[in-house]
Symmetry: C2
Subunit: 389 residues, 2 copies
């Protein structure tokens, strides 16, 4: 045993040596520290700094966006701030040191939203528990390349198969196609959206049916998320993306075809749902009416649903007729959710007026807040609970 300990000790040397070169943490600073009263303490060792702030959605602001608060300098150059108690939730933040925004050197957990990296933490309890990994069984998350003849390229997508999928013999599963917003990609729903954790938790708790969740890349000009394709490590939003000009919607059945031929799916309308946020809501809206007998469940989260009269060509043509066919065929759930402060709120008012005028049934959920991931995680939870039952 002594010799084993000796050996382990030998290992600490290079770690320490490495720490002197590249380490971002250490110095004994713990940040963020989640306190028993659900407050959070932020800390950073910045002995030369003149002003240190934290900015994030965990700091109140008049606009409802990211607030900003100053940390106080303590001994040994460690700055700190303790918030008030926070509601259970996944929060994002960053530090601002003498005007320069930077990640928390003590927190390795972060997310990328379009071109921004931000640290995250989770206040447990309630909704927060839904975003943490559950103690129960977990689904598999795969990064899969599929062929899209219509777009002429191999494309990357994320596929979630629920716990037990691999061991369930010939059992078939329904599929939720879950689409991201502008600037997002096939990684967004499983990072910012915590989709795998939400589904794991809902399914483990009997709150949702076991389902496959397919998260494709909605930028028809690109094969994959930045850095995950042959274009190399490029800055997000600097490539021609082809987002809302019809190509993606027109090519969508390439995805359904791939999924139906590579997974044990329920290959019919009653086994298919499509939902998306913002631009992904726009895509879900047009895809579900274009392939009017393909999806029994449609979810529009803060959707960029254009004014119905704006349809122009391709999948956007024959708007009224396609809508009519979709609702004549019937579907089990047409779900619309948006926040009161969302900049797309009026667009959704117009959409609902259109549906009301034509007598097309839908369910409507209005939440607080704006065009933010916090809402989209809640909408996904609510929507997933209503599917395939």
């Amino acid at each position: 045993m002594k010799r084993i300990l000796f050996f382990a000790a030998a290992f600490l040397l290079p770690l320490a040596a490495f720490a002197q070169q590249a380490i971002f943490f250490s110095e004994g600073v713990s940040s963020p520290q989640i306190n028993p009263d659900r407050s959070v303490t932020f800390r950073i060792h910045a002995p030369k700094a003149v002003k240190v702030e934290v900015t994030g959605d965990c700091i109140a602001s008049d606009s409802g966006g990211w607030g900003r608060a100053e940390l106080a300098e303590g001994k040994d150059g460690v700055w700190s701030l303790t918030t008030g108690p926070l509601e259970p939730e996944l929060y994002s933040y960053a530090f601002v040191v003498d005007g320069l925004q930077m990640l928390d050197p003590s927190n390795v957990f972060l997310m990328r939203d379009v071109r921004s990296l931000m640290n995250i933490f989770i206040i447990p309890g309630g909704r927060g528990d839904l975003y943490n990994v559950c103690p129960g069984p977990h689904g598999t998350v795969s990064k899969v390349w599929y062929d899209s003849p219509a777009l002429g390229m191999q494309r990357r997508m994320t596929v979630y198969t629920p716990a037990g999928y691999e061991d369930s013999g010939s059992r078939r599963y329904p599929v939720l196609y879950l689409l991201h917003g502008m600037g997002g990609d096939e990684d967004a729903w499983v990072t910012l959206g915590r989709a795998a954790q939400i589904l794991d938790n809902l399914i483990a708790g009997g709150r949702a049916e076991p389902m496959i969740v397919v998260m494709p890349n909605g930028n028809a000009g690109l094969p994959s998320a930045p850095g995950e394709g042959p274009e190399g490590l490029y800055q997000p939003m600097t490539r021609p993306m082809k987002t809302m000009e019809g190509s993606y919607e027109a090519a969508f059945m390439d995805i359904v075809k791939y999924v139906d031929s590579h997974y044990r799916t329920v290959k019919k309308k009653s086994g298919r749902a499509i939902a998306g946020l913002s631009m992904g809501g726009f895509h879900s809206f047009h895809i579900s009416k274009q392939y009017e007998n393909t999806f029994d469940y449609v979810g529009l989260f803060s959707a960029a649903v254009r004014n119905p009269e704006q349809g122009t060509g391709g999948v956007y043509s024959d708007f009224d007729a396609k809508m009519a066919r979709q609702f004549e065929n019937g579907l089990k759930l047409y779900y619309i959710a948006i926040g009161k402060d969302d900049f797309l709120y009026e667009e959704n008012v117009k959409l609902r007026s259109y549906l009301d005028e034509h007598g097309y049934p839908y369910e409507y959920v209005e939440s607080d807040g704006g065009h933010i991931w916090r809402n989209w995680r809640v909408y996904l939870t609510d929507f997933a609970e209503r599917l395939f039952r």
Copy 2:
């Protein structure tokens, strides 16, 4: 078309609004910029800074580790530095602004090594091309939870299946079990190690056989990488890890059993390789002799191979007898690779002496450099090319 453009323009507003809150990039700064002569320009907008440095393995240092160089302040508070031409390679770096280490606000690409986050870039050509995503077909990378009865928990691992696996009917594939080092986890080989890109490129170029690569978590006390298990978002290296005390090696056949029953594998010795870096080399060393007729290929990369006399109990017991049985049974390749400056170099000299004394055949590769991922990517490439042919 005009209305589509109008609609797209409406989208830029919230992105811009968001940018004022959380964005780390922008200000027109491009960094890192790879220049045609393979030099790199680093830039950061830090108008209040007094001193700005870049530290990384792309900056020369006397120690062979991360060097450090000062950026010069230009107009509008943008600091910059252009390196000399660099060899094709994947490089890591960070900025140091007035003594505070931080990530490059203009570069969203980064890797976590144990507790450190660092930015990365790739100089293309030669070896660099092997680490970029190829234009050809790509394998699937999955995060899978398997049951380990021996460790009494569900555990997470990364599985790479080569391009075409899903469409190859009943074809069976050999498996490389690829193990990480101390402080690492099931994510390390596909992030720091670029294992999926290396295998995609080698297989697409006909340089390696199509194979499955299984990357488990070698910390027997933990179910998964930090943040990916039910323990929540904890600081790496702050949990009891159980790394080199025999539990992991003793439970290893749980992994092989799961893989052989859930993937179309070649279920025999000739279809199995095991390799690892540092602690993963230690694990590969002991696992391959404990299950002495299971692996035809063994790779020890900068391996923490203890002095043979140090075996104590469990899988470490009966050292000489197990080694004898392993080599009597025969195996196709026993591969040892290490850098001249590695702190484990002498351990490996002792191992080679032991093998030589007993007449056990092996192949030995000695490289420049020390205990670093740059070497492990090279060893993986070299090893993978020799497997299953």
